[in-house]
């Protein structure tokens, strides 16, 4: 069951101003039986002042279609035609304390019936290129037709662009699959192929470890420490140039503890620096190791006092 507001239910159970209207001089018909909802709005307009003296409706449709029609008749009574023209579908929904996103089209139909009735009174032909598709984005009530037209008109090619243009997909993001399907269809019309942009991206460079050649003997403890020191010596000049420094604190199996000092410590690029050193270290040792920055107790105390 839909989560209808009390006001929607009240207007559905006790619709106001129903049935044909005697003396009506304006009629607006919208919708059709195949769409599942159809609304006829009848108005009695005072010719001199153009004030709507009375309004009735007949509706074939669901609960919210009937409630929206009933609300509309109440809203327009006493208004001039020009005032009534300013009523938006959101105004109708607001009058009812809101409608579920799937049902917003009921309020749209109400506004359209009003425009059709006013056009009918004024002897104009009211036309609407109204086309509606299945609801795709429930967060922002965007239907497939709207998405399709927007993709076509603006030559869109990614879900992100669709979200930027229509808001569809910008909320819970569960409708990205149907949006991609519409993109595939419309892009095929213009001879393009949709390429998913949403593929997961690695957040860090992937380090490929070359398997140690069988002939190469595994590094001994001393040789390993020397290699580690060599890598640190190699990166030091770069760090010194940035007024920082690095020192080896300890080696515990795969964990190589280092201490970054000076400008490097707490620098925004610290994580990137450590990742870079780690990559070099893995390459040099031919095994996976982890660089672990450890702050010396003194340095920490110093930093907490505002540094130098």
């Amino acid at each position: 069951m839909w989560d209808y507001t009390e006001k929607v239910k009240e207007h559905f159970y006790n619709p106001r101003n129903t049935g044909p209207l005697d003396g009506a001089n304006a009629t607006g018909d919208v919708g059709s039986i195949s769409c599942g909802d159809a609304l006829r709005l009848m108005l009695k307009v005072e010719p001199v002042t153009e004030v709507i003296q009375d309004a009735h409706f007949q509706t074939f449709g669901c609960g919210s279609a009937i409630a929206s029609s009933s609300a509309l008749t109440e809203m327009v009574k006493g208004k001039t035609l020009d005032e009534a023209m300013k009523i938006s579908n959101q105004d109708i929904a607001d009058f009812l304390d809101g409608l579920p996103p799937e049902k917003m089209h009921c309020s749209v139909m109400g506004r359209e019936a009003l425009h059709a009735a006013i056009a009918n009174y004024r002897g104009e032909v009211w036309a609407d290129d109204h086309e509606e598709g299945a609801l795709v984005c429930k967060c922002f009530a965007v239907d497939s037709q709207m998405i399709e037209d927007t993709i076509r008109d603006n030559k869109l090619s990614t879900v992100e662009e669709v979200t930027n243009y229509t808001k569809a997909g910008g909320g819970c993001s569960t409708c990205h699959e149907p949006i991609e399907e519409i993109l595939i269809k419309v892009m095929a019309e213009r001879g393009e192929t949709f390429v998913a942009a949403g593929a997961k991206k690695a957040t860090q460079a992937i380090v490929h470890i070359e398997p140690a050649t069988p002939a190469a003997p595994k590094l001994g403890m001393l040789a390993r420490i020397r290699k580690i020191e060599e890598v640190i010596a190699a990166v030091r000049p770069t760090l010194l140039a940035d007024r920082g420094d690095i020192e080896l604190v300890d080696v515990d199996g795969k964990n190589i503890m280092i201490n970054l000092t000076g400008a490097c410590s707490g620098c925004q690029m610290e994580a990137a620096t450590i990742a870079g050193i780690q990559t070099k270290m893995i390459e040099a040792l031919g095994e996976f190791v982890r660089i672990v920055p450890v702050a010396k107790a003194k340095a920490t105390a110093c930093a907490s006092h505002g540094g130098k």
Partner: protein, 405 residues
């Protein structure tokens, strides 16, 4: 008439869990919490209870062996497992035969498989929801991996001749699966006497809880599991057993079997009474599907020139629960695919209401619904621009001239 409300006539959607079922389940949430796979007494007792439940389900389905019963989480999982298994076990076969009126659990799966390159043959139905078996026979070939056809339609209750269709598939060397979630527990089923290879059932359609399904797998049918992992269900459906629900389903299966005669007699009589009484009083209404060959509990009535959701809301106000094939109840724009497939005109398709009874439905309830429905229909028709006085406006196309359609 005093209202014996609430009146639940939406048993094809789900059923109330039987109190006896709940009672049987409760100990397995508390003292009998063990894992059936464990090598201690906590697990062992659960294992014994699961075995007993499996036998009860086997009997309800008329299966030859209890090992042919695989417990799953729902009918949808059973359907997906069956179809995907057939494809995986026979990689050279790239076609599936199904029907246009299947449940979304099959239709959406097939749409997705179509995008993956499989060919889907969807058998059409006539105005009463019946298949043409000649069309079906022509499609059977060694390219077809599986036929998946529902036993009874969820909206109209109309049966498909699955036993006969399974024979035809078997003769052509094609696997046959049936989605029988609406049929199991309502009609006699004896799978051992059929050539049905796989069958899906769902606990909550027969007074067991939600979250438990069954996949019947005929012994010897090639199978590839959907979920792999532990050895539960003999490796055919990994994942710790939902012990309380399986045990509950066992009780429900036993009760359904004992009550199957009631479905044929009492439930059918009440359904027929409801239908006849409404049709006699409400003009421009008719039964959809095939009235001569359908589930005993289902009545699907189309009320022309009004919309289903509005009917449901007014019924609900009087404490009557039913469902509708109208577009508005689902949030889609099209009325039910089943109604469209039977070519029910739009004037009626939006106004279909399904009343689905159970063996717990009483005559007093049906009498109340019989007197509640006609005024509701009249009230909504009074609001409809397509209705005038005692009948539809003469030429709806002329009288109602929308600025757009």
């Amino acid at each position: 008439m005093s209202a014996p409300t609430p009146i639940y006539l939406d048993n094809n959607a789900t059923t109330a869990c039987d109190p006896k079922v709940v009672e049987a389940m409760l100990p397995y949430f508390t003292e009998q919490f063990g894992n059936a796979s464990s090598m201690h007494s906590f697990g062992n007792k659960v294992g014994v209870a699961l075995k007993a439940a499996r036998v009860k389900v086997q009997k309800l389905l008329g299966a030859e062996h209890d090992s042919e019963i695989v417990f799953t989480s729902c009918g949808t999982e059973s359907n997906s497992t069956a179809v995907l298994s057939a494809l995986k076990a026979q990689p050279d076969r790239k076609e599936i035969i199904t029907t246009v009126v299947e449940h979304p659990a099959i239709l959406s799966l097939c749409e997705s498989l179509e995008k993956d390159g499989y060919t889907i043959h969807r058998l059409k139905v006539d105005g009463k929801g019946r298949l043409n078996l000649d069309d079906y026979a022509k499609l059977l070939s060694d390219k077809v991996a599986v036929v998946s056809v529902m036993w009874a339609n969820n909206e109209t209750g109309t049966y498909f001749p699955v036993v006969e269709m399974a024979e035809m598939a078997n003769a052509a060397g094609v696997m046959f699966h049936t989605d029988a979630v609406q049929a199991v527990g309502k009609i006699d089923i004896n799978l051992a006497d059929t050539k049905i290879d796989m069958l899906s059932a769902s606990g909550h359609k027969l007074h067991a809880p939600k979250g438990i399904g069954v996949l019947y797998l005929r012994r010897g049918v090639r199978f590839r599991p959907l979920l792999r992992g532990g050895q539960q269900e003999r490796g055919r459906r990994a994942g710790t057993e939902n012990a309380p629900s399986i045990i509950g389903l066992g009780v429900a299966a036993e009760q359904a079997m004992a009550a199957i005669e009631l479905e044929r007699t009492q439930v059918k009589a009440l359904r027929d009474k409801l239908e006849a009484a409404i049709l006699a009083v409400v003009p421009y209404s008719f039964v959809t599907g095939n009235p001569d060959n359908r589930l005993p509990n289902t009545a699907n009535i189309a009320f022309e020139y009004i919309e289903g959701e509005a009917i449901l809301m007014l019924l609900n106000k009087q404490g009557i629960a039913a469902s509708s094939g109208s577009a508005c109840t689902s949030g889609s724009l099209e009325p039910s695919h089943v109604m469209r497939a039977m070519d029910i005109p739009y004037t009626a398709a939006h106004g279909t209401v399904r009343f689905s009874l159970s063996r717990y439905t009483t005559e007093a309830e049906i009498d109340f619904v019989i007197q509640a429905v006609p005024p509701i229909v009249a009230q909504l028709r009074k609001l409809s621009p397509y209705w005038s006085g005692t009948g539809p406006v003469e030429d709806p196309a002329k009288v109602f001239a929308p600025a757009y359609a």
